[in-house]
């Protein structure tokens, strides 16, 4: 894997020299990083699992099962190089977290910051002191203050022990006298067992999700208290929640005319039929009828959260945001690094799609040209081996934007010989 990274990095560094563009990609495939994290977290999980608790054996079994699933999932993430170890960014992020903790009078011991290469705009707390920031946050945030508020919010979850409490509450609820009694009754039922059991489970889940929604507000609230201690601009909290609310809306698109401008070189002509897809029979996609989806939202909607935060802040905002040089440096490279992260995660379709959105307005950019070349090369190989759908998303009339579906049609519909011409055109 290290070898592969070296080759990819060389290609990118080559661009750095030729294109006079100040970008060097981060190593997202480090074997050492993976091995160290693996060792560290295995030890950490062992120690957590040995800790005594006041729960009875049935409750312990439930919590054990949940912890085991969470821990396995986390180790899988480590093993698939989900986390980045970088000499600059990791200490920088750790520094931001320490800033919040120390200024809030909390000992940083037991807290750890990890950076995920995931491009989704998100961060999370794993309940064992670990706070994970997705690389996608660098794309969404405009200043360091916004990032610090998100970190503060996650510290809030950890400080209030939300994950641990969640799991234990679930275990207590599942083993409560009432539930045990109902379970026995269900066992005795001759008919309609599954429906009654499903209703019971639904109730437990509703209570749990309702609790989780409350916990988000609590994390916002205490996170804001911590954040205020840093003396950063409180307006950032409001701004970043607004951005999270918009995070699933695509900001740019690629139109058929853009494909013509970008690809019509070397004899390749973009035809309308490349974008055509058989019309679907279905026009109406229902949300699941099993459970009312809205009531399952673990996060209350951002508008509600913004309103609550505004009440806390009394609408008194200063104009200035702060951003360190480190933040500005990371932010500057974030668009390219995100393409690289997607590429190393073998999401060649999305990496190419995002690259094309940038390239259509910056057609002389050698870095973009090269990432387009690399992705097309991978896509060409996967088309040949009938594995393209592993690396390029499927057409999806419900979840994808029209622009993304158009892109998917394009990379699937063009002939292999056309792909060869495109690859040649983008070859440096």
């Amino acid at each position: 894997m290290k070898f592969i990274f070296t080759i990819i990095a060389l290609v990118f560094c080559g661009l750095f020299i030729n294109g006079q563009t100040n970008f060097v990609s981060i190593d997202t495939t480090s074997f050492v990083c993976k091995a160290n994290l693996n060792l560290e977290y295995k030890k950490k999980f062992e120690s957590i699992n040995k800790k005594k608790s006041a729960l009875n054996s049935a409750q312990k079994n439930i919590t054990k099962e949940i912890y085991s699933e969470i821990q396995d999932n986390f180790l899988d993430k480590i093993n698939s190089n989900n986390f980045i170890c970088d000499d600059k960014i990791n200490p920088y992020l750790q520094g931001l977290m320490d800033e919040v903790l120390i200024k809030s009078g909390i000992s940083p011991e037991g807290y750890k910051m990890l950076l995920s290469r995931n491009s989704e705009i998100n961060a999370y707390n794993t309940g064992d002191g670990t706070i994970v920031v997705n690389y996608g946050l660098f794309l969404a945030t405009d200043n360091e203050d916004e990032l610090v508020f998100i970190i503060s919010h996650e510290i809030g979850h950890q400080f209030l022990n939300h994950i641990k409490n969640d799991i234990e509450t679930f275990a207590l609820l599942s083993t409560s006298e009432e539930v045990v009694k109902k379970t026995k009754e269900i066992r005795k039922q001759k008919y309609g067992r599954a429906t009654t059991a499903s209703d019971l489970l639904k109730n437990i889940r509703y209570q749990n999700y309702s609790e989780r929604r409350k916990k988000e507000i609590e994390a916002d609230s205490i996170g804001l208290v911590f954040y205020k201690k840093t003396m950063r601009n409180p307006k950032a909290a409001i701004a970043v929640l607004g951005k999270l609310d918009d995070s699933d809306k695509e900001k740019d698109s690629i139109m058929p005319g853009d494909y013509k401008r970008v690809f019509e070189k070397g004899g390749f002509v973009v035809k309308q039929k490349y974008f055509e897809e058989e019309e679907s029979l279905f026009k109406k996609y229902d949300k699941t009828k099993r459970i009312d989806v809205d009531s399952l939202k673990t996060h209350p909607d951002c508008i509600t959260r913004v309103k609550l935060l505004k009440d806390h802040l009394d609408n008194k905002f200063t104009a200035q945001y702060s951003s360190s040089n480190s933040f500005l440096e990371i932010k500057k490279n974030s668009a390219y690094q995100n393409l690289f992260n997607l590429f190393t995660a073998e999401k060649y379709g999305l990496s190419l799609y995002e690259a094309l959105k940038l390239y259509k307005n910056d057609s002389e950019n050698p870095i973009l040209k090269n990432i387009i070349y690399l992705n097309f090369t991978k896509i060409y190989a996967s088309r040949g081996s009938y594995t393209i759908n592993r690396y390029v998303p499927t057409h999806d009339n419900l979840h994808n934007t029209a622009s993304l579906n158009r892109f998917i049609s394009f990379v699937n519909n063009i002939k292999m010989t056309d792909l060869e011409i495109i690859i040649n055109n983008f070859k440096s």
């Binding site: 599954a194 679907s280 279905f282 229902d286 099993r290 009938y386 393209i388 499927t394």
Partner: protein
């Protein structure tokens, strides 16, 4: 068949995937296809609970052509239970007309489907109708089921189906003088389940009776294939075969066409195509016999009959004899390819220039052996323009003996399906594997034959991997669905829609 394999397998991965769709027990599924054989979606049925004696709650899930979930819902259905047998599951068969899916539900016990009843799912509103059936001359909405052993016939619907361009049709075949059911008929019902017209075709007193099979239809005409049987023995066919042309709007008979020279020839219809002004009947013919059934060993060749769509009058007829392939293929007069066997014709596809593509596969019926495939392009004069041989794995089923129609019905041929891509382009899929092989090296080859720009081209997909087992299925237009089951436990099965390169 596809979804049976798709959803029935019990590897860990598939359970994981199924559980994403429903928490219930998998019952049955079917592919949603349009009139051009294109896959438009999938319908899957689960049992979610047993709510009373002989009563289950079913969950259905509809997926679109990209496997995105469109809708799901619940319905209560009966499932047969008695001291003698319990139905194992409820099966579903799906047909599409415009924006409606007709669902045929049936209890399945010991290999037999019982208690057929129907529902309609409107894909515009995603609303499911109440159950209905057609029993003793009346269409009953939301019938009360009374499944005593003595009352089975009152709970088993006659066939209801969608005809292209027409809509819902009931085919009432039961004749019972005591119950006053003296005529066989086809009846068209509208969206409100009201009868629009009825075509009566055989009476209880008739000396010979018609057995009608649907061939094709559009807004104007319904084309049916007929074989006569003896009155006192419906299993005995007479050497009389005809085609019926019905007015699709009124249900009146426009023409009954008797197949020519029935004393010399027997006929099988492979495909029927309706164009703006013509009806094309294409098939296989053999030496005649007293039952007018097609004898595999006396196969002569292919035929094409062209009719005036408005009148049913014969406009043109062409015959192609296998022996005309001599020189291009080592074939005998009766269509026997040396060392490979007879030719079975899977499809005859009409191109816009009037040419026809015939898809054939060589086979031996005792023991059953499937051999190479031959694709023929016949011009408008029905002369061979192109012969394309596709060599593939020779599958042998020791100790078996069957007619070609049974080999086809039991899915033992290697030809899988075709896709009509439009603009006279087609894709054909075939297994190139040793069936039921445990030898992974041999069980991962799939053949794809493309017909594009007037040329056949063959490619073989070698889906062999060291860590998994991959199966290929027909999918939405231009794509193939690959289902990859991994050796690694708990690793989810991958369902991939892969664009076919051609």
């Amino acid at each position: 068949m596809l979804l049976l394999c798709f959803f029935c397998c019990t590897s860990y991965g598939q359970i994981t995937n199924l559980s994403k769709l429903s928490k219930g027990k998998f019952y049955s599924s079917d592919v949603i296809k349009d009139e051009k054989n294109n896959i438009k979606g999938y319908f899957i049925l689960f049992e979610s609970d047993k709510v009373a004696k002989e009563t289950v709650e079913l969950e259905y899930v509809v997926l679109d052509e990209n496997l995105t979930k469109v809708t799901n819902g619940f319905m209560t259905e009966m499932k047969y239970e008695s001291w003698l047998i319990d139905a194992e599951k409820i099966t579903v068969g799906v047909s599409l007309y415009k924006n409606k899916l007709l669902l045929e539900l049936a209890d399945y016990a010991n290999g037999v489907s019982l208690f057929q009843r129907y529902r309609i799912l409107d894909v515009v509103t995603n609303e499911m109708s109440k159950p209905f059936d057609f029993i003793k001359g009346s269409l009953r909405l939301n019938p009360v089921f009374d499944r005593k052993n003595s009352n089975m016939s009152n709970n088993m619907s006659e066939n209801i189906s969608f005809y292209d361009g027409v809509g819902m049709m009931v085919h009432s075949k039961t004749l019972n003088k005591k119950e006053g059911r003296t005529k066989r008929y086809l009846a068209h019902y509208n969206d409100d389940l009201k009868e629009e017209w009825k075509y009566e075709y055989s009476e209880v007193e008739d000396k010979k009776k018609k057995i009608l099979t649907y061939l094709a239809s559009d807004e104007d005409v319904i084309v049916l294939f007929n074989r006569y049987t003896k009155n006192n023995n419906e299993g005995t066919y007479l050497p009389e075969v005809s085609t019926l042309f019905l007015d699709a709007k009124k249900g009146t008979l426009r023409k009954e066409f008797q197949f020519p020279e029935l004393d010399k020839f027997s006929y099988r219809v492979v495909d029927c195509v309706i164009t703006n002004d013509k009806v094309y009947l294409m098939g296989n013919y053999a030496k005649g016999n007293k039952y007018a059934s097609l004898d595999d060993t006396e196969n002569i060749g292919l035929y094409k009959l062209v009719f005036n769509k408005k009148t049913g009058e014969l406009l043109d007829k062409n015959y192609f004899k296998w022996e005309s392939l001599v020189g291009k293929l080592d074939i005998k007069k009766n269509g026997y390819v040396r060392k490979e066997g007879q030719l079975y014709t899977h499809n005859m596809l009409l191109k816009s220039d009037g040419n026809i593509i015939a898809v054939t596969e060589a086979f031996i019926n005792k023991p059953i052996i499937t051999n190479n495939m031959y694709f023929l392009e016949l011009d408008d004069k029905f002369e061979v323009k192109d012969l394309f041989e596709v060599t593939k794995f020779r599958n042998k089923f020791p100790g078996t003996n069957a007619y070609s129609s049974d080999i086809k019905n039991y899915g033992m041929f290697d030809f899988i399906d075709y896709q009509d891509l439009g603009d006279d382009e087609f894709l054909f899929f075939l297994n190139d594997n040793e069936k039921k092989s445990k030898n992974r090296k041999k069980s991962t080859l799939y053949g794809i034959v493309s017909y594009s720009d007037g040329k056949f081209k063959r490619q073989t997909l070698d889906l062999k991997t060291e860590t998994s087992n991959i199966k290929a299925y027909n999918s939405k237009k231009g794509y193939l669905m690959l289902v990859e089951n991994f050796d690694e436990k708990n690793k989810s099965t991958e369902f991939r829609l892969e664009k076919i390169n051609y």
